[in-house]
């Protein structure tokens, strides 16, 4: 009996403890600012993924450049809200409707998670500000592979390609590659870029679409060979590697490094940030600390051009996911 009582007491205490925690963790509500003295309080950059990943690195580098150049009169904080394949972070940004003190970055899940229909949002529920870099993908094989060109891929049979994630840029590109070349490469999803690279180097896979950053290191070390790049033009860091489009294949897809805000923010805020981001994109600090370090392509797209690219990218994902049977 005594035992039973104690257990009941325990549970009651548990509930009380949880209630207390709940109270403390009430989310703070942002307020809407007037346009004339914008920005007049701390800016929040929400990263929908964990610390140390690609989305996080770009956010922190951008904030660092803005700080160093003292581009805005207020502080800017980076906050990670991971979970639900980006859904948690993007839903949070969306919930700050009309508040121009919240920013976020665009990643693959920005498109794919809404398309899966599990997040009642889409790219239309955000305000595009600008894009400040572009990252192509490189199709590569190990240095001792028999595959030396795209033509060799068409001739070979039983090839495999690894992708980081079932629905991702490399997956999209792999299916495009099959469609455009008529090859029948089997697409094998892995959990991350590192695992794919390990499997290719260990000869468990033949091909991969990788970031310039990871592929160039392997190419320079003599471990891998680049076959083609997915940007419209050749990359300056790989002058001998053709682009797919110059080889006559309609494969042009790059990852845009762009910044968004919640829906319905004042037009002044959009033009304010377009200006700031243009200064960032054209600054030598951004070039050395981000673009050159990660071997990306320097660009600046204003909100209109960025919006158009977002729509095109989303359409590309929608087609892929339909073909894969992920959405009806």
């Amino acid at each position: 009996m005594e035992k039973h009582e104690a257990r009941k007491g325990m549970k009651r205490r548990m509930l009380l403890a949880c209630g207390a925690v709940l109270l403390v963790m009430q989310p703070m509500l942002g307020s809407v600012a007037r346009a004339d003295d914008y920005p007049n309080k701390t800016m929040n950059y929400i990263v929908a993924f964990g610390v140390g990943g690609g989305s996080d690195i770009i956010a922190r580098t951008m904030v660092k450049v803005i700080d160093e150049k003292k581009l805005i009169p207020v502080k800017m904080l980076v906050e990670n809200r991971p979970g639900g394949s980006g859904a948690i972070g993007y839903s949070f940004i969306n919930s700050q409707k009309g508040d121009p003190y919240y920013l976020g970055g665009v990643g693959v899940s920005f498109f794919t998670t809404p398309l899966l229909g599990k997040m009642p949002l889409s790219y239309r529920d955000f305000t595009p500000l600008a894009a400040i870099a572009r990252s192509p993908y490189i199709l590569a094989v190990t240095a001792d592979s028999d595959i030396k060109s795209i033509d060799d891929i068409k001739k070979a049979t039983g090839l495999t390609i690894g992708t980081a994630g079932a629905v991702s840029d490399p997956a999209l590109l792999s299916h495009l590659l099959n469609k455009e070349t008529g090859a029948t490469i089997k697409v094998v999803p892995y959990d991350g870029e590192g695992e794919v690279m390990a499997a290719v180097l260990g000869k468990h896979l033949d091909l991969l679409f990788g970031n310039p950053n990871e592929i160039l290191e392997q190419v320079n070390a003599g471990a891998m060979r680049a076959l083609a790049v997915t940007s419209a033009e050749r990359m300056t860091s790989l002058p001998d590697v053709p682009s797919f489009s110059e080889l006559g294949y309609d494969i042009v897809h790059t990852q845009l490094r762009g910044i968004i805000m919640p829906k319905d923010v004042p037009a002044e805020a959009v033009s304010y940030w377009e200006g700031i981001l243009k200064t960032v994109a054209e600054s030598p600090e951004w070039r050395t600390q981000y673009v050159d370090r990660f071997n990306e392509i320097p660009i600046f797209l204003d909100s209109k051009a960025f919006e158009a690219e977002i729509a095109a990218t989303s359409a590309r994902y929608e087609t892929l996911m339909r073909e894969l049977g992920l959405i009806k």
Partner: protein
């Protein structure tokens, strides 16, 4: 190879600079506490410190982040032993025997052993890292999906020794774990599975939530108030608060096997330290002369997993330093750190940044020594925890659990999940279902699933490829021998008994 040791000597000198030493100490202490905090493990620890660390100079930053990683491996055991709550995922196996030891008044001995195991595991891992990093990295990538599948089948066959008395209940627990492991986005197709329309389940359920709920909360729910009352505690002797050197030396075999298993599983991309501790524990039990003592406070049951998880931490770093491949969540964040300080991880890192790499390795040795010193001093103080009455101790611990779990993803939903898993664990305890098979299923199941499905996609559904890889074939044959031999032995014993009976007649 001898070059390595000269380079390491230079690295040790460089890592002894005051700024690097300070960074190591800061990292080690933060790691220790984050490891001890239920829910938060090394990945969260490295991630929390990353934005701060990159403002130090490059070497100090990575030395501090590395120290958080291996410091957390020391810290995880503390909560596991004293409170029965895994401080981080890879300390889950330490709970089984470690907490029993603490309850029997041997908290000091168990903690001391875990420190020794952490140090020895760490040292063996470090020595292997120093001597063979590049060579081992090349060997590790020979493990593809086929080999991984074989290894997981082998692991599951080993863990069958961990099920407890009732095989049916153990199997049900295992399958529940396998089921929980399937929750989230399908790794091969990308569609959500068993998400119940809940977007917060897309990334699956964090393992620490299950481990903390199933072991920690369940234990507290079920503790009757009489346990740990002062009159009962008074029979514990003061001496037992201190580490026991003799007991540590007795476990030399488990320390050795645990370290080696941990290191080799740690190297494999995608396998992880938690899987390593499970295999090390199962191996220790399987090869022990007294397997019946495991689960009831066997010192060997603390030595094997603790040596394994520390050693795995260094194994894990090999693909990152030697090939530029992050093999786990923690090394992925650590690699983010390398990129942020302006270093390019990749196969050239050893050549282009030789001084940096060896300074970092040197800092690992110093950090391990520092952690032993810190934890040995803390042991008697921490061990007195075992004397605190549950009615005083538990509310605070539950608050810390809520805080730790909330800290992983800033999610209240996950705090609710951990309470739910606590209730599940309580029910399982009362109905005599062992929780260990569940966590095994949840850790090993997803690796096995990915291995099989990746293989079959690449082979067009042809199962024979599993027998064409020499590595996989050897592993599968060993598994077969392990599964069949006890049965053959028992058959032979039976036949001999029959013969003896006939003769007697």
């Amino acid at each position: 190879m001898f070059d390595s040791w000269y380079l390491l000597a230079d690295g040790l000198v460089a890592a002894s600079q005051p700024n690097v030493l300070a960074a190591i100490m800061v990292g080690a202490i933060i790691g220790l506490f984050i490891g001890a905090l239920p829910g938060l493990g090394p990945t969260a620890g490295v991630a929390i410190l990353l934005p701060v660390a990159v403002s130090f100079d490059g070497t100090s930053a990575i030395a501090a982040l590395g120290a958080v990683y291996y410091g957390a491996q020391y810290g995880g055991a503390v909560t596991a032993i004293l409170l029965g709550i895994p401080g981080d995922a890879s300390a889950t196996m330490t709970v089984i025997d470690g907490h029993k030891l603490a309850r029997n008044g041997k908290a000091g001995a168990a903690l001391g052993l875990s420190i020794a195991a952490s140090f020895i595991g760490g040292l063996i891992g470090l020595l292997l890292l120093t001597a063979f990093a590049t060579t081992i990295a090349r060997a590790a990538i020979a493990f593809g999906p086929i080999e991984m599948t074989a290894l997981m089948i082998f692991s599951l066959s080993l863990v069958s020794v961990l099920g407890g008395k009732d095989l049916n209940k153990a199997m049900m627990s295992l399958f529940l774990g396998l089921f929980i492991g399937t929750i989230g986005l399908d790794p091969m197709i990308g569609l959500p599975r068993f998400d119940f329309g809940e977007v917060r389940l897309f990334d699956g359920i964090e393992f620490s939530i299950i481990a903390v709920g199933l072991f920690g909360l369940a234990e507290m729910y079920a503790t009757p108030p009489s346990i740990g009352k002062p009159e009962e505690a008074s029979r514990f002797r003061f001496r037992e608060l201190f580490p026991d050197v003799r007991a540590t030396l007795q476990c030399w075999r488990e320390l050795g096997s645990g370290s080696l298993i941990g290191f080799f599983i740690g190297i494999l991309p995608g396998a992880g330290a938690t899987a390593a501790t499970m295999i090390a524990y199962a191996f220790a039990k399987r090869t022990s002369k007294h397997p019946e003592r495991f689960g009831h406070g066997a010192l060997e049951g603390v030595a094997a997993p603790e040596a394994a998880n520390n050693s795995a931490a260094y194994g894990n770093m090999i693909p990152m330093f030697a090939l530029g491949i992050p093999g786990s969540g923690t090394t992925a964040v650590l690699m983010g750190g390398l990129l942020m300080i302006g270093l390019q991880p990749g196969p050239m890192l050893f050549q282009t940044q030789s001084a940096f790499v060896w300074t970092i390795f040197g800092s690992f040795y110093i950090g391990n020594l520092a952690l032993v010193a810190i934890t040995i001093v803390l042991t008697p103080i921490l061990a007195t925890c075992a004397f605190v009455r549950p009615s005083f101790l538990f509310p605070g611990v539950i608050a810390i659990i809520a805080f730790g779990i909330f800290g992983i993803n800033n999610s209240m939903f996950e705090v609710m999940l951990v309470i739910g898993f606590g209730i599940l664990g309580y029910l399982m305890m009362k109905l005599d279902y062992p929780p260990v098979p569940l966590v095994l299923g949840m850790i090993l199941g997803p690796i096995l699933e990915r291995g099989i499905r990746r293989t079959l996609v690449a082979s067009d559904g042809d199962l024979s490829v599993f027998f064409k890889s020499p590595i996989a074939l050897v592993i599968l044959l060993i598994t077969l021998v392990l599964v069949v031999s006890p049965w053959l032995v028992s058959q032979r014993a039976k036949r001999q008994a029959d013969v003896a009976n006939t003769i007697a007649k």
